[in-house]
């Protein structure tokens, strides 16, 4: 039992928590922006996959890390645009379009990877982001922060930035209104379609960056199926967070802590319990979070409702 508690006192555990949470923070913020504007983006899993692949690829081909990350975001944005064209002006099913974007984005990622590296057994590694040690001297949390890379700090900074953008700027107000009452936005003379497509593009860029974190900071290479449901977990986290950036951060951190904990517990327990049971826990935890929050959730009122200009 003391082993189980000891884990909580290790700096490496808290460092892992932040590392695991980073792609989830980015993905959850991205999904949250889309949904606040009224569009469910089920393309997230594929956009994270193509983000992971393209970020890795650009660096592998010689770009520096920040350029690679930016280009990955751009690739994600393109898929967000495609999603937007289908679901916003054309009003097509957000569910089916989203699954289609996921299938398309991940198959493009896999096809590109296989075409460029036809018979590579071990995936080529890239030089990842170095830990940023400028906060190492901070008492207590210094050792935890010293292990984090720049994208993690970026993700953390994006949380208040997104909250501020959504709650305190005219753009954020218009965006939220597009997700609550698009007819009112139109009556204001604002462009609902533009707002929603813009939200999808911005959100998808964040998702792709979340995926790119996996290849550019966590695993240093691209593997098939490496996103492993993180996108779907982000969708659950958005509900858990009641569509609020601050709570999204909390959810991602809780999730990261839980995941880091189960890995360590798994090592402590040994082979007596099948390791798959531990690996199931994150998915089951996401479902449990959904069940707990579903009743209290206040969905954006126009979520999943296509808006037709001039129609009530």
């Amino acid at each position: 039992m003391s082993e189980a508690l000891d884990i909580l006192l290790q700096a490496s555990f808290w460092a892992a928590t932040l590392r695991i949470a980073t792609p989830l923070i980015l993905g959850t913020l991205g999904e949250l922006i889309c949904e606040r504007a009224g569009v469910l983006n089920l393309g997230i899993e594929g956009i994270m996959t193509v983000g992971a692949m393209s970020g890795w690829l650009f660096v592998h081909l010689g770009a520096d890390l920040w350029t690679g990350l930016a280009l990955a975001a751009l690739v994600g944005m393109t898929f967000g645009l495609l999603h937007g064209l289908f679901t916003v002006p054309l009003g097509l099913s957000q569910h089916v379009t989203g699954i289609g974007i996921t299938l398309l984005a991940s198959s493009i990622a896999y096809f590109t990877y296989r075409v460029l590296l036809p018979d590579v057994a071990t995936p080529p590694r890239i030089e990842p982001f170095e830990p940023w040690t400028f906060m190492a001297a901070v008492p207590w949390i210094g050792p935890v922060l010293a292990e984090q890379t720049a994208p993690t700090y970026l993700a953390l900074a994006l949380v208040p930035a997104t909250a501020w953008l959504l709650s305190a700027t005219p753009l954020g107000l218009a965006l939220r209104a597009a997700g609550e009452n698009p007819a009112a936005v139109e009556a204001q003379g604002l462009d609902v379609y533009g707002l929603r497509i813009g939200a999808l593009m911005a959100g998808s860029a964040l998702m792709a960056m979340g995926g790119a974190f996996l290849t550019m900071s966590a695993f240093n290479a691209f593997f098939f199926e490496m996103v492993a449901g993180r996108g779907w977990i982000c969708i659950a986290l958005v509900v858990f967070a009641s569509w609020r950036p601050g709570k999204a951060l909390l959810g991602a951190l809780l999730f990261g802590a839980f995941d880091a904990y189960q890995v360590r517990l798994q090592q402590a327990v040994g082979a007596e319990v099948p390791y798959q049971l531990f690996l199931m826990l994150p998915y089951l935890l996401s479902i449990a979070a959904l069940v707990v929050m579903a009743r209290r959730a206040s969905y954006p009122q126009a979520l999943m409702r296509p808006f037709v200009k001039g129609e009530r």
Partner: protein, 349 residues
Amino acid sequence: MRLEARADLPLALALAAPPAAALAALGLCALPLLLAGADPLRAYGLILQGAAGSLFALTETVARAIPLMLTGLAVAVAFRTRLWNIGAEGQLYLGALAAVALGTAGLGLPPLLLVPLVLIAGAAAGGVWMLGPAWLKVRLGVDEVVTTLLLNFVVLLLVGMMLEGPMQDPMSLGWPQSAPLDDAALLPRLIERTRLHWGLIVALAAAVACWVTLARTATGFEIRAVGANPRAARFAGMAVDRVMLRVAVISGALAGLAGAVEVAGLKGYLTQDLSPGYGYAGIVVATLAQLHPLGVLLSALFVAAIFVGADSMSRAIGISSYIADLIVATALLTMLLAGLVTRYRIRRG
């Protein structure tokens, strides 16, 4: 000129939309083929040859279409009521797991009893599993998209756990693989010396049953009514929640049946790579078929042909067979557009 919604869809247009979408997808995917350094026409020729160039190729394509028909039906039935079951992949594996549990138990039953029992067990496993997310949806308002998606990962881990644990074949030298099914549990082959098996008859029967149920029975009417407008259906006195739960069980059962049929008909044992994404491809199959049970049969054949053909094309000219996934994903999106186009017509003036 302006666009005007059609009151009802002419049959010819409904039938023309899927082939048009498929052709558009093939046209669009010529670009990645070109970028990969292949001649698209040659590649498509090789895909066609690989999928339908010989009797053997044809039987391979049809055999590959069997699980796709069943997962396509699972998705079509669910989407008809706007129950977004994206968990066919997981339900398929659970069905396979149940089929293996029964088929390797050494019950000593004759094939005439054991085969149906194995299939029913697979369907039951999938159906009961889908009851969970559906119940959470109607009772607690939990979104079924996310729960069914997340449960896919849980089931895959469960399968891994069983195949490395209690259900591992002692003769497999440590491979995560189940023991082979008893001979009496296997679906016989339809054509000797091919892999085409009686699962085809099961899938065809399931499609006809779904079609008759949807089009000709009171249950089917309720399913369609709930899908068209749940509030109106409730107002008309239908128990919308119960319809949803019933559809969930049917949908899960069809996906579970796909897994049982694949194990008892094709593989004979269970591994973790039983399905290369048949559950997700079922969404494409159902969408291409415009959620029509009989259309599912044809669109499953198309998707299967792309996959079987791409494998053989890949062996011939070394272009990655992931082009099949790309074509199929593109076809899903072009079909959405085609469906939209057929719903409107251009009016002059």
